[in-house]
């Protein structure tokens, strides 16, 4: 029952999301269309760090949905994953969700020193945008330390696909005990499934089982699930083309899909799939502070080459 209490605590907070998701979590499944609509409208988003990306995503990464983010190595998937794990923690009084994050690292790219840097960048931006709030709220000021942002990420490092399955199965129990988690990030969902699988049909079954489970968790615990995916070359119609890994059946298992790509020297996000939003793309940048809007060409970040 502690789960319900906390959903209330989030909802009754002085800011916008006053009619929180508490009713739906008490009566699971009992919702009419009106409930669904008001639920959708009150639903909060997780800021990506870039206003342009938020824009094409309809406000940010959606809670209660599974979002897949794919792209080539080095384009910024992990950077965006870490950014979301930090931004989900932005306190409610600063327009955030004030939640915690679960980060499931399958590749070893979660570098804590970088997480610290991104947390610092997030805090310095908050203080810049809310100077008056900062003066008025000494209690909130105490909370804004990169250390506490780091400590509010539950970090799982897994080294095989059996461990990956075990962690995802364990999440149900974990999230029940930690009902302030608002995002689960898997970086990447792909890596351990690209080794030799003797039985490809088994792989497909395991993966669709995982995605189904994650979708249920996102609804039941009102959190966003973000799955990072790799890019692979696929041989079609006589030529090699870039496509997201894990095959065609997997591509149906996420609600939203954002593809990150290079356009010359600039990074872009492309919303490839969404139940409600049009296909669109927008530039973004990865800076020392983290994921941000791409700046105009005249003040472009200098590339030392």
């Amino acid at each position: 029952m502690s789960h319900v209490r906390s959903a209330h605590a989030v909802g009754t907070n002085k800011s916008k999301g006053a009619d929180g998701p508490s009713t739906s979590s008490v009566l699971k499944g009992a919702q009419n269309a009106w409930d669904l609509l008001s639920d959708e409208q009150s639903r909060r988003h997780i800021n990506t760090g870039s206003a342009d990306l938020n824009n094409i995503l309809g406000g940010g990464i959606h809670c209660k949905e599974v979002t897949e983010i794919g792209g080539v190595p080095g384009v910024g998937k992990t950077q965006l994953g870490i950014q979301l794990a930090i931004n989900v923690q932005i306190p409610v009084e600063y327009g955030g969700l004030g939640g915690k994050a679960v980060y499931i690292d399958t590749e070893g790219s979660f570098m804590v020193e970088r997480v610290y840097q991104i947390a610092e960048g997030c805090i310095s931006d908050i203080l810049e945008y809310f100077p008056h709030c900062h003066d008025k709220a000494p209690a909130g000021q105490e909370k804004l330390k990169p250390e506490s942002f780091l400590a509010d990420i539950y970090y799982f490092r897994i080294c095989s696909y059996t461990e990956q399955i075990a962690v995802i199965n364990y999440l149900e129990k974990f999230l029940e005990e930690h009902n302030d988690v608002r995002i689960v990030i898997i970086d990447s969902v792909t890596f351990h499934f690209r080794q030799d699988f003797d039985d490809m049909a088994l792989r497909t079954r395991v993966l669709s089982g995982l995605s189904l489970k994650l979708m249920k968790l996102s609804k039941a615990y009102n959190l966003a699930v973000v799955l990072l995916n790799q890019v692979t070359t696929k041989f079609t119609e006589g030529s090699f083309q870039l496509t997201l890994a894990l095959g065609d059946s997997w591509s149906h298992s996420c609600t939203n899909r954002l593809i990150l790509y290079w356009n010359g020297n600039e990074r872009y996000g492309y919303l490839d799939k969404s139940p409600s939003l049009p296909v669109a793309s927008a530039p973004y940048a990865v800076t020392i502070k983290g994921v941000r809007d791409a700046v105009n060409s005249n003040s472009k970040r200098v590339r030392v080459m």
Partner: protein, 289 residues
Amino acid sequence: MRPAAPARHSSASSSSSTYSQQEPRPENPLLLLPSSRAGKLSLGCPVLDRLLSGGLPAASVTEIAGESASGKTQLCLQLALLAPLSPLSASCLFLHSDLPFPLRRLRGLAPKSRPDLLDHVLVAAAHSPSDLISLLSRAHHLLTHHPGRLPVRLILIDSIASLFRADFDASPADLKRRSALFFRISAKLKELAHRHRCVVVVTNQVVDVVEGEAGNTVAWSSGRRVSPALGIAWANCVNTRLFLTRDADGPGGSARRRMKVAFAPHLPERACEFVIRRDGVFGVEPAER
């Protein structure tokens, strides 16, 4: 894969299977911060260390890609000799696929006063991908039991590309088989890196850029447009990619060499110049030129 140890070492034989039986437990990133910052292996040069924010990270796989004679092997040998003296205080496991092992170069690099440094370099040859996989499966034992020797905290593989030179066609089926092996090798390396807080370095060769291989790192080196070998599948297998390039020979003497951070989870894309000297690879301050 054979069991690594007799029954009395059962705790060491397969940590992954024992791990998955207990409940997964999250770690607190805040507690990992000090070791993430301090657990870096210096390259023995302040300029290169600054490029890499202190050196090569532990528990992570770093690729060093470059054309032949770009300094890859030299860097590996240098790291092997630095590891025992570094705060890591480690021996290294040097897996080489290019025969023979460059023993003379290693001896030439070792300071005359410290011939004992060579004792901390464990060498094994891998002739094929399956060779490498079985070596890595047995490495677990080597990494947990180190009587009378510094623990192995550095694994060097020189080079990954030469393992895949033969036995593979460009047919889709072979490419699939090949990339499955990449992911197996990489998963094994990352597991060793994570469980033993190892620095893992893998060198890679370059290939000329061909159409249809979009998505991979591209750079100019010696007047050629090149990418690290093994395609985008392998690019997915490393955490950090360092690219060693060389300007086309100009009229004014020796060509400039650069070390670029092509991608890294903890570093911005940036580069610095370096030189290869008899005593090693060293970065050059921009002002020194």
